[in-house]
Every structure is written in C-alpha cells, then in structure tokens.
C-alpha cells in the first residue's frame, strides 16, 4: 500500500518536467494495473499496516479513483496542446489522487476526515483554474461552503468519539454502540451533503457544469462516492439510532430523486442534465444504505461504482461535443450522428447504462437497490417505478436530441477526429459486471455484525 503512495508522490516532480504529460497518464494506468494485482483476499481486510488497510469497498473505490484520474488526464489533452498550465494541472490531479487514495485507505477516523476535506482543495483549484465560464467562481464557493457546512459537525463528532472511546480506528468501532441523536445527525449530515441528498444538492449542478471535463469527471466519479463510503463506515456504530430515524432520509431522498428526474426533462444544458441524473442515482444509493439491509449495501456499492464510470463517461462525451461546438446547449448540439456516427454508439451505450439497461452494471445495482427498498416498505415501489421510468425518459431524450435529426445549420466547421478512450470506460463498465463480486461480500457482513 505504501508503494502506491510513494509512486504517486514521486510522480509529482515528473509533472513539472518537460513533455511528460502522456508519461504521467501512462504511469497512472500502470499503477491501476499494479493495484489490481494486490493480495486480494477478498473476504476480509487485507494489507493492514499501522495506518492503512484495504477492504473490498476501499479496494473498489481506490481502483475507481485511479482509473478516473488517469482518464481525466487523457480527456484534458487539449490543455496540453494549447499549453495552458498543464504542469500545474498534472500536479493538481496527482495531489487529488493522493488525497483520495489516503481517504479510502486510512484506518483512523480523524485522518479520514482530514483527507476527506483536503480532497476539496484540488477540486476547487481545478474548477476555478481550468473552468470555462465566469460562473465558476460561484460554483466553487457553493462546492466549498456546502461541504464545509456539513463537515464541521463531523469533526466535532469525531473528536467526541475519541474523547469517549479513546480510539479512532475504524476497525474497532464496530464493537461500540454510540446511540445519541445529536451525534448521529452531526456524523451523517456531512455525508448526506456530499452525496447529495435532495434538499442540499444545489452545489452539484453548479459545480459539475462549471467544472472543466476533468473536474466534472472526478466530481461525478469519486467525490460523490466519498459520501457513500463515509456513510458505510460511520453507520457501524450508530445502528440503533439509524433504525429509528432513517425513514426521514430515505423518504427525502426517494421523493427527491423523483423530483430531480422530472427536473431533468426541462434542462437545456447537456452537462446540467447529466448532473441532475447523478443526483437521482445517488438518491437511490442513499436509500439503499439507509435501509440497513445487506442487499442495500451491495446495491449501493455496485451502483456507486457503475455510476462513477457511467457519469464520467457521459461528461467526457459532453466535453467532446463542447470542444467542437463550443456550446453545451441542446439546441445547438443536435444531429450529431451525421458527423460522428461512431460517437453515437458511445452515447447510446453510456446513456443506456445510465437508465439501467442490460447488460450493464447499473442494472445489477438497481435490481439490488429496488429489492432492498421494496423489502423495507411496499410503498416505495411506486416511487422507484417512477424514478426508473423517468430515468429512461430523460436518457432517451438526451440521446435522441443530440444524435438524431437535422443538425444546427449554423455550424461552420468541425474537428471530426476523436480519441477512442471512452471505450475503456465502457469496457470497464461491462467487464466488471459479473466477474468480481462472487463471494466478496460474505465476510463484510460477518465483520460488521456485532
């Protein structure tokens, strides 16, 4: 585990050397490959040391973050071509990756909080430094202050736990039972803001839309999952309170998911539509975690991974259109199939994964989530039916609007060649589906039982 940390730290001087853009990206791919070959004893925590560990959730999320960071660099090759501070950009990405890696792999709850907050700074720098429109200042402010507003109580909660239990190790916390309402709210709220629940989701459309493609990819891919990961870790010692109060969060997120799916229909901006669909997916994930079912945890984990891949891919595609047409608006981006027919294949595959069509990983996650939520209460069936139906609606709306029909007549010219890295995302999406999950979750359940 240390070896990856050192590999990333030593990639930093590499960013500042001349012409090393593609080498950094290659090294990140290499690191992903190395990480996959870890001692994967999939039924327990592995690679434990004094500070860091890995279990199945951390493993998947670290893998996802390395993958998306390497794809981020690939997607921003226009920065390299136009020579727009790409050294500092690379440094930013590697720094962000280090922070994320450490967030997912430390054993100490306070260190987890520290890196959780620290990953905000490179994201903010990405949005403000390399974003496209002047609205990015407000977007950065929203991102920063929403998250900080939620996470300061989290800090108080962690310090209270340390005062009470004299330990901060996540592994040991499952033996305790801290059932206090105020502690519960202060711990949970940060993560609910982070993976946004319905009423506190306003930072997400702004931040996703104003961010450059790399910022959008990492936000949609990983930053939302930090909230989910935090919830999964923190729920362990708050079970009784959760069982009393979780219905609030489930109801807010499910009804909110329904409202958000409907709001997707009146969006004009492509990226804004994809951002709102992220909120809708995450609302189901919150529902799944909060029901405290085994199926809920599985479903939310699978949906987190698949949503990370799928949304990042869609932001890449939206950026491809943006680079060529300099507009994100749907009125201008229509009839693209006449220019880039191969691109319509990628749009279709990613959008059909977004609406949970077989054989994608999203379908598996959604089936598990639907199973767990309906087993919690029959009435959530109606909400889930409508969310699934509307997600098909807006995904097909986006696809058919962008690809089919006549093109905008004001197009002058168009750079038609494109890089085919999106296929890697899809390959990941489908290949992860049925290989890795057999039997991985048994011990997680056993470990988390009291």
């Amino acid at each position: 585990m240390m070896k990856f940390l050192f590999m990333m730290i030593f990639m930093i001087p590499l960013c500042f050397m001349k012409n090393m853009f593609w080498l950094v990206q290659m090294m990140l791919f290499f690191m992903m490959f190395l990480f996959m070959n870890l001692n994967l004893n999939i039924m327990c925590f592995f690679n434990m040391s004094y500070m860091s560990y890995c279990d199945i959730i951390s493993f998947g999320l670290i893998l996802l973050s390395i993958w998306i960071c390497s794809l981020m660099i690939m997607a921003s090759e226009s920065l390299f071509k136009l020579n727009f501070y790409f050294n500092f950009f690379l440094f930013n990405v590697i720094f962000l990756l280090i922070m994320l890696y450490l967030t997912f792999s430390v054993l100490n709850l306070l260190l987890f909080y520290f890196f959780f907050e620290a990953s905000l700074i490179p994201t903010l720098l990405l949005i403000i430094g390399w974003g496209y429109q002047p609205e990015r200042i407000q977007a950065g402010m929203y991102l920063l202050f929403y998250t900080l507003f939620g996470s300061l109580p989290l800090l108080m909660g962690i310090i209270y736990i340390f005062n009470d239990l004299n330990t901060m190790t996540i592994y040991f916390l499952k033996f305790f039972n801290m059932n206090m309402y105020l502690l519960y709210i202060s711990m949970i709220f940060a993560f609910l803001v982070k993976m946004p629940m319905y009423f506190v989701h306003l930072w997400l459309p702004k931040a996703h839309v104003e961010a450059p493609v790399s910022g959008s990819m990492i936000l949609a891919g990983i930053m939302l999952k930090l909230g989910g990961y935090g919830l999964l870790r923190v729920m362990i010692f708050l079970q009784e309170v959760n069982l009393k109060l979780n219905y609030i969060w489930i109801i807010i997120s499910l009804v909110g998911g329904l409202f958000i799916s409907m709001k997707c229909f009146c969006q004009v901006d492509m990226k804004s539509l994809i951002a709102y669909s992220s909120v809708a997916h995450m609302s189901m994930v919150i529902g799944g975690i909060m029901v405290m079912n085994y199926w809920g945890f599985i479903g939310s984990y699978i949906l987190m991974i698949s949503h990370g891949l799928c949304s990042s891919g869609m932001f890449c595609l939206a950026n491809i259109n943006y680079e060529r047409l300099h507009s994100r608006s749907l009125y201008i981006n229509s009839g693209m199939m006449n220019f880039m027919p191969s691109m319509s294949l990628w749009w279709f595959l990613l959008l059909s994964s977004n609406m949970a069509a077989p054989p994608s990983l999203n379908l598996l996650g959604e089936i598990s989530l639907i199973n767990s939520l309906v087993s919690w209460s029959n009435i959530s069936m109606i909400l889930l039916m409508m969310i699934s139906f509307f997600s098909a609606g807006y995904s097909l709306y986006l696809y058919s609007y962008i690809q089919h029909g006549k093109y905008f007549q004001g197009l002058y010219s168009f750079y038609v060649w494109f890089i085919s890295w999106v296929f890697i995302i899809i390959f990941a999406l489908i290949s992860f589906k049925y290989d890795n999950f057999k039997g991985w979750f048994y011990f997680y359940l056993i470990l988390n039982k009291k």
Binding site: F339, Y407, S413, F414, W417
Partner: protein, 144 residues
C-alpha cells in the same frame, strides 16, 4: 407573439388558398379520380356563385364562413404526398454538410482525385468572389 401579422395577403389570395385547401380536402374524401372530378366541379360552382361579389363586407363574411366549414369538415386523415411536410417520408435522410468532405482521411480522398482537385480550385474561386464583393475580412474576426 401570435398576434404579430407576418405578412399581408390580398382577398384574392386568401380565397384562392381556401379553394386549394378545400380541393385537397375533397381529394382526401373522394379517392377515385372521376368521383373527385365531379365533386370538384360542384365545389367550383359554389365558389363561382359568389365570384363577382363587390361588397367587401359580405365577401369577408363568406370567406370566414368558408374557412369555418373547411375546419369542421377536414378529413381526420389528410392525404399528403410522401416527401412533403406531414407526409411519411419527409426529411428521412439528412445529408451532412459540405465541409465534412474536407475532413476525410487522405486515403479516402485519394479515391476521388479529380473531384478533390477541382474542389480546391472552387474554394479559391469562392474566396476570391467573396472578397471582391464584400472586401477583405478584419484581422480580429478571423477564426481562431
């Protein structure tokens, strides 16, 4: 927005438009040509009865009544030609614009050497014609 008149039509134009639409409506009802011909003659007779009307108020009233009768009797499945708006085959194939040809791969372009040579020449001629008519473009308007 809907009250902005987008053009001025003379009375004769409106009557002729009503007549043509009424004929097309008749065509939808009576498909066999000889039957349609008979009904079209009857319709023409109805229009001809008031053709020499000089009182504009009465003429406008007749026109309005005619429009209303056409609306009330329009065929629920009107007969359109396939490639006209409303028809089945309207805009089925979208042709990509011309500049896509410039982005072909050189190997593909080499399959049609004559055409692409002439194309370059035509592009130069177009630019020359534009500059003759509208003058040279400003430096700051150039495509970056």
């Amino acid at each position: 927005m809907a009250q902005i008149p987008l053009g001025v039509k003379t009375h004769a134009q409106k009557v002729c438009s009503l007549y043509k639409r009424a004929l097309r409506n008749l065509e939808a009802y009576y498909d066999r040509r000889h039957v349609y011909r008979y009904q079209a003659v009857l319709l023409r007779e109805r229009f001809d009865k008031h053709a020499k009307e000089t009182n504009m108020i009465k003429a406008n009233e007749l026109l309005k009544e005619g429009e209303e009768e056409l609306f009330l009797k329009q065929h629920p499945i009107p007969k359109y030609f396939a490639t006209s708006p409303g028809g089945v085959a309207h805009e089925r194939v979208v042709t990509p614009p011309d500049w896509v040809l410039d982005y072909w791969h050189p190997l593909e372009k080499a399959q049609y050497p004559e055409y692409f040579k002439k194309r370059e020449q035509r592009k130069k001629e177009f630019v020359a014609m534009w500059e003759k008519e509208y003058g040279k473009p400003d430096e700051k308007d150039k495509h970056h």
